[in-house]
Symmetry: C2
Subunit: 321 residues, 2 copies
């Protein structure tokens, strides 16, 4: 099988089936970005599809936010590679009765998310279909791209920002309520951690990925790709506002809620052991992005999640469920 | 309005609406590929979406052919830029009940079309939805990329291969019949003209695009982008087999049928006046692709189509109709 080893999950079984079918026609599937050698370093490319009714609903967020979110999700893959954005392309399938104005509204959101990190809209495609579907492809460059493999026993495991916000918004909408402004924003306008990703790459990041499927699932991909084990203490997780309330309603621990929530687009990164609180403070001073140590890399395989030292299980967020 | 001027059509009105909404956040929309300066020349990128029920039907072609066709359509944009492929990415939306095997079959077609022109699968994304939708993004490089602008009065207008084959297959399917093998192949397994595009770029091509919307429509884009007029004599068009039969059934001239048919993925190119039959023969000897002179570039604007010297009207193929 070609490509980077992946953790468990139905979507990843499908990726493995594709990798087997393609054999040598596929190169390096399974990392956040594809890497192409380039005269001035490495070109990083990633493509990301957002489907109405699966990734978003229009009774929850506006078309401009759908566009922002689709672009931010793709740009987040560049962030995880420590890349500087070059630009993006957007292929939009619009319902047959959509107006030119509504398509332009969606594309305004795509363009705004790109412009926020210096990534212009380079091109795109349009088609008619039965629902809104947006595929955003991003291009970036990095002198030293960071991948998912490279974590070593002894490294610290860190995470940017806070977790569980997007899930808290989803849970509120599913109950028919309106989420608070801050968790709504976490879902509708996630900020790709481009500057933090570049800073971490410049400061010897060993392995990195972005949290699109939730910490519990994505950590297993980093462990599999690096052929190491991870130990993560859930009590350390930085939790988004409203996570406590939402977890209580579901009757689960706030820490598990945060670990299982998808689509936060924060970075999970393995840093050398000597990287500590002083360095994290420097990142925050430079980029305004908090960085929290949540665990460590060990010899072995798999991910062990603990809550106050006691092993717990948590599952990833899977759009195929 | 940013971007390359486009000819008339509902899809292009929408592109114009997007360009107005995005302003400076969009760079150069409207050419076949986006061009990004690169240490070793120019990086060319294009994205192309294929929608079940709009661009293809699964009672007509197999999933492997859907994948081939989606990749070939995107690679054809690289051909039109005179670019050498670097690789491609494929984002696939599969119906909820699709098996891993059927997704792998589709991706095998994508990979085969890429492998045929040296373009490996670099990455992709998967999601579930209500129909099959494939977005293929291609990357290529060119020392001197060819765009749609650059045609000058006096240039000859040439076309590769033959026209109307894909439309002949569609008409047969719509009647409930089975198309002949050669026109079926024109629809299901179009060959992106990568080698011909590179040869033409190396031989001073002034302006080039690929015929996805049909000659009648696409010629107007080349004219608008180059700020020139085109005169095309339809009697000169190289016609695919079965075009005569299909046109007779519809009660129209075979030449109009060929000019209006979309999705042939042949190249339309403006060459300097001194480029002639001997040079076209050299292209054919090198790449096995025939090249036919069908008209010329004149001062002015718009496209004049003639049949035996008499002006005729023909319309482009528009997925939005």
């Amino acid at each position: 099988v070609t490509g980077v080893p992946l953790g468990p999950g139905a979507e990843f079984d499908r990726v493995r089936a594709i990798a087997v079918a393609l054999g040598s026609a596929a190169a390096g599937l399974g990392d956040d970005c594809a890497a192409v050698p380039d005269g001035t370093g490495t070109l990083l490319v990633s493509t990301d599809v957002s489907v109405e009714g699966v990734h978003f609903r229009l009774d929850w967020i506006a078309l401009e936010e759908v566009g922002w979110r689709a672009a931010a999700a793709a740009l987040s893959d560049l962030a995880a590679s420590g890349a500087e954005p070059v630009g993006l392309l957007a292929a939009v399938v619009a319902p047959r009765d959509a107006t030119d104005r509504s398509v332009a509204e969606l594309m305004s959101g795509v363009a705004a998310a790109g412009a926020a990190v210096g990534s212009p809209v380079l091109g795109g495609d349009l088609a008619a279909g039965s629902a809104w579907i947006i595929t955003v492809t991003v291009l970036g460059r990095a002198a030293r791209p960071v991948s998912r493999h490279g974590a070593r026993p002894g490294d610290g495991i860190w995470v940017t920002g806070s977790l569980g916000g997007a899930r808290a918004a989803l849970e509120a909408w599913r109950r028919g309520e309106v989420p608070t402004a801050s968790v709504r924003r976490a879902f509708a306008r996630p900020e790709p951690r481009i500057n933090a990703g570049r800073w971490l790459a410049d400061h010897a990041a060993r392995a990195m990925l972005d949290l699109s499927d939730g910490l519990a699932g994505d950590a297993s991909h980093l462990a599999a790709a690096s052929a190491v084990g991870l130990e993560i203490e859930l009590r350390s997780l930085p939790r988004a506002p409203a996570v406590g309330d939402e977890a209580r309603r579901l009757g689960i621990a706030a820490e598990s809620f945060a670990a299982e929530g998808g689509e936060d687009y924060e970075l999970l990164v393995a840093m050398p052991a000597e990287f500590g609180a002083a360095e994290a403070a420097e990142l925050r001073a430079t980029t305004a992005v908090p960085l929290t140590r949540i665990g460590r890399v060990v010899a072995g395989d798999g991910v062990v999640l603990t809550l106050d030292g006691k092993t717990v299980t948590a599952r990833g967020y899977d759009h195929f469920r």
